[in-house]
Symmetry: C2
Subunit: 308 residues, 2 copies
């Protein structure tokens, strides 16, 4: 029986990861840590402030997990612009506590830390897709903390011998995502428009291309990396294809058969936004054998029908 | 009259920097912050824990310095291996507090943050000298925090408009350096041997080449960068020349006219040590017009005579 401990289990990816693990490992024993009061995923749940080193250490010493999946993080770049200090406080200090607890308790847990494609920073279109070997140039507080996470994990893997695998995850989407993100915000607004509760669609900059991967594919990759990822290595988690945000809008409108006026909300336009970002997923494919199962167009239909 | 605020003023570089400022700017008003109980540099001194956000903010709001020179840091790579968590706690959180205080109080202070050549990581000999444009691969907890510092500063300069100049400083040496570092430890031991109090010289790996710059040159560069450095830019601070540590040993022995047995102390050998590291200082020279004044051989003689 394998024991899994998931930090930030009550976030968006958590529940999809739990389903994925339970489906693939019938004997899995899953522990979850989060800041919400409770968690209805049927796992052993600990409410905890991961910024508290002592609590983290005590928990890990008690659970001694075979696998730790570190999802806990401030999840939004936008939020990090509004509150950079909180972002550093959460993202940088929490990973330190997790690594310190594993090291100081001499645990042999395999750790998967979820990072972000944001660490790449601005690359021109002709250098896409982004490869794991590229130099990194974080341009937001969020990205700086995610690079910090990666760099500490690398040091702890290479020099302290911790068994850590890292990801650089690109844009996720899927059922249950917070509507501060593009696709859920879009779907929510379009459904309101369809129902007559709203007239216009508010968007940020939709003339940019991003790499969207369904959260179910993400969860499968994370699971596979727990078993097949190489210690100290970092893997892009992405679809490998860029999609124009405006095309997603058009596609969703056509599913709902509506044609609303589109208004650009300056509040939603990020500083430093670049035209196109997509990743190279050949490394993660080659090490895990993963193949994409959920494609954008059909997934959008499922999300819209699920929300209607 | 210009106001200077120096964090970590009671450390090794602090006093040299104060002398340099007072020599170049007769009307300078210097404030110092440090963790020691007092500071005898004739400056306005505040004893403070820079990890306390509120205290840092209150001080900066009160002083409203024209210049902030951020020296405060855990200064040794070796120490960071022994206590990585303390290193993150000091190096990462303190810079956040300083930047947050400047940003939130809308100060227009020019900030010089002192970073480290350690951010480069392992480069092969044929890629020396290290240039500011190289990709960075930190391989110690210390280096990870110094890269974090650089990256946050870049974000705060580029996106929040803070007026920040950064350095990547190479090995310093000079009067008053803590004897956990190579040259002062060497000089101290050789003087003990000369005096008959000790028989053998304990060293780490001395068959490596490093780039040593006299702390008086360092102080002059920092001063010049306050005025001439470009916002958001990073500068190597180094001599530009590699020196074999064994040659420094030989040189010091010949000054003292002794020839002790040399014993390698495994405790002093660092993990991941690489053969040769030196930097390219053309960027800092071209922007500040700085020229090296203190050369290694004559400086060593001064240090030894000063300690005798």
């Amino acid at each position: 029986m394998s024991t899994y401990l998931i930090t930030g289990i009550s976030g968006f990816v958590g529940k999809h990861l739990v389903s994925c693990i339970l489906q693939k490992d019938k004997n899995a024993c899953i522990y979850g840590v989060g800041k919400r009061a409770c968690c209805d995923l049927g796992t052993h749940y600990f409410r905890m402030d991961l910024k508290n080193q002592e609590q983290v250490s005590r928990l890990l010493k008690k659970v001694r997990p075979d696998f730790i999946i570190h999802l806990a993080s401030m999840s939004s770049v936008q939020e990090s612009w509004n509150n950079p200090q909180e972002c550093f406080d959460v993202n940088a200090n929490v990973i330190i506590n997790v690594l310190t607890a594993v090291k100081d308790n001499n645990l042999s847990s395999r750790i998967l830390t979820v990072g972000s494609s944001e660490v790449y920073g601005n690359y021109p279109e002709h250098e896409m897709p982004l490869k794991e070997t590229y130099p990194l140039n974080p341009i937001s507080p969020y990205a700086v903390t995610k690079l910090f996470q990666e760099n500490i994990c690398k040091v702890y893997a290479d020099s302290f011998g911790l068994d850590i695998v890292m990801t650089r995850s690109f844009n996720h989407f899927g059922a249950g995502q917070d509507d501060k993100f593009f696709i859920p915000s879009l779907v929510k607004q379009l459904l309101e428009i369809k129902n007559g509760d709203k007239k216009t669609l508010l968007v940020g900059n939709i003339d940019i291309k991003r790499d969207f991967i369904n959260v179910n594919d993400v969860a499968e990759i994370y699971y596979k990396l727990l078993y097949d990822g190489k210690k100290g290595e970092v893997y892009n988690v992405c679809s490998g294809k860029p999609v124009l945000l405006r095309e997603i809008v058009t596609h969703c409108c056509s599913i709902l058969n509506i044609n609303p006026e589109i208004i650009v909300d300056r509040q939603r336009v990020r500083p430093n936004d670049i035209y196109v970002i997509y990743g190279d997923n050949s490394k993660v494919k080659s090490v895990t054998g993963w193949q994409q199962k959920y494609f954008l167009e059909s997934s959008l239909k499922d999300i819209i029908l699920g929300n209607e």
